[in-house]
Symmetry: C2
Subunit: 249 residues, 2 copies
DNA sequence: AAAAAAATTTAGGCAAGACTAACTTTTTTG
DNA sequence: CAAAAAAGTTAGTCTTGCCTAAATTTTTTT
């Protein structure tokens, strides 16, 4: 008898807006919903009908709008997803509130309960963990403040150096060429001995001094070499990899 | 002359699929795209036309499909967003690969470059940071393994206790009632002295032993009390808050 | 190389969700 | 309390993006 739960992203937005307006004011007016979602009044009427048909809210033309228990439950879930995402962006990634809210709005649909819960657990865990805590997030923010030119901030460079191997023992930093790294090795880029379009292409991909590069795969003949930098996968020729200086330890 | 960049989520999916198929095979067949995106062949044709019109790919009926430089650039961005999200889910949140991929597919549209970059920086940072590193993620995984009954795992409880205050000094654990906490205080729930529908309602909200609860606001007369648990905001009556035992330090 | 099979495209439909314009109801105001 | 203003609704249209069925082109088989 009960149909599938699937609510479209659009209808979820309406439900969320209605829930939020109820929290702020006592009554919900179609106009407020329209204003909040940047949509015409006519669209609101349509959405209200759709939501009412599915029993998420009580609605009759010109009548007051209230959420049904079912509607309120779902709305809470949506608001929670939004809140969790926003918290993560603000507290962990140090994104400003506005951007965090905007992005949370877009992502809140289609994020599974499992991942929402994991995010909550992770945010709590960072606080809780003896290895983490505020110090971790503070460190991250300091790290971010170094700004664009990571290559000039010794603090950042030190951290990035740490990425290469974290065995716990003190190790010497070695200067190598990217070409010399094996699969799985990571290095900190310190220089690129090339110019012109190739240098530009590498730069655009994030292959710049200060970035961490990881070797993902090497073809049988040692060419091409697949690497990962800043979330990009790219494929380099032997000659190119030879021209990139890295630090490893 | 050049129109807005905005590409719909649907068209982004097609572009991504095409890019991925090109990486795997040499040629792109409409059928492969249809299979990957679980849509009919006719839909693929429509999408190809739309993408060709915007100059993301070279296409003519029955002809081979190739990406234009512009299309390839955008496709790379999309693939990167997907990869970064997936990496975050898998490496940081310890989500299994399948679920991570599915969710990344849904979220990859509408995540701003700033947040993608922050995610990359954060993943790298956790590795790099002397406070974090693999240990942090390992700890998180152990934490997750405790499973549902967090209230029985001393390891988790210890961590959760740490959340209440992390001043660095050793402090005594105090038993209190939620009612006694002030705004901003956090406590670890140890028991709920109530039954029936109220207990059920609280449970559904995540207000259960083992959870961390934070007091967000208290109304002038001390009632209601707004708290946050597991990403949910909820409002408790004085009588309810009195029946919840917490640990603070 | 013709017939059969597979792939692709076209044509025509449908649903969601937005819009504008015109109309109705409610609220406010003189 | 009636007229004006504001709010809400209806009707009709448009776009996106999916579908099925039928037609067309390409590829594979015999």
């Amino acid at each position: 008898m009960t149909e599938a739960v699937g609510l479209s992203a659009s209808l979820e937005d309406y439900l969320e807006a209605i829930y939020n307006i109820i929290q702020e004011k006592s009554a919900v007016r179609a106009k407020d919903i329209a204003g909040r979602l940047q949509v015409s009044n006519a669209s609101v009427t349509g959405a209200l009908k759709a939501l009412a048909k599915r029993d998420f809210l009580n609605y009759a033309p010109y009548d007051v709008i209230t959420l049904t228990p079912k509607g309120e439950k779902i709305a809470r879930e949506i608001v929670r997803r939004h809140q969790v995402l926003k918290d993560f962006f603000v507290k962990v990634l140090a994104i400003d509130e506005d951007e965090a809210n905007k992005t949370a709005c877009k992502l809140e649909h289609g994020i599974s309960p499992q991942i929402v819960n994991r995010l909550v657990q992770f945010i709590e865990f960072i606080d809780v963990c003896p290895l983490g805590g505020d110090k971790l997030i503070e460190g991250f923010k300091r790290h971010l403040e170094c700004g664009v030119d990571r290559n000039k901030c010794e603090h950042c460079l030190d951290m990035a150096r740490g990425l290469v191997a974290r065995s716990g023992q003190v190790q010497k930093i070695q200067k190598k060429r990217l070409l010399e790294l094996k699969v799985g090795d990571r290095g900190l880029i310190r220089g690129i001995r090339t110019k012109g379009p190739l240098k530009k292409r590498l730069s655009e991909m994030g292959l710049t001094p200060g970035s961490v590069v990881e070797v993902e795969r090497v073809a049988p003949m040692g060419d091409p070499i697949e690497v990962k930098v800043r979330g990009y996968h790219l494929s380099l020729r032997k000659e190119e990899a030879e021209k990139i200086d890295v630090e490893v330890r």
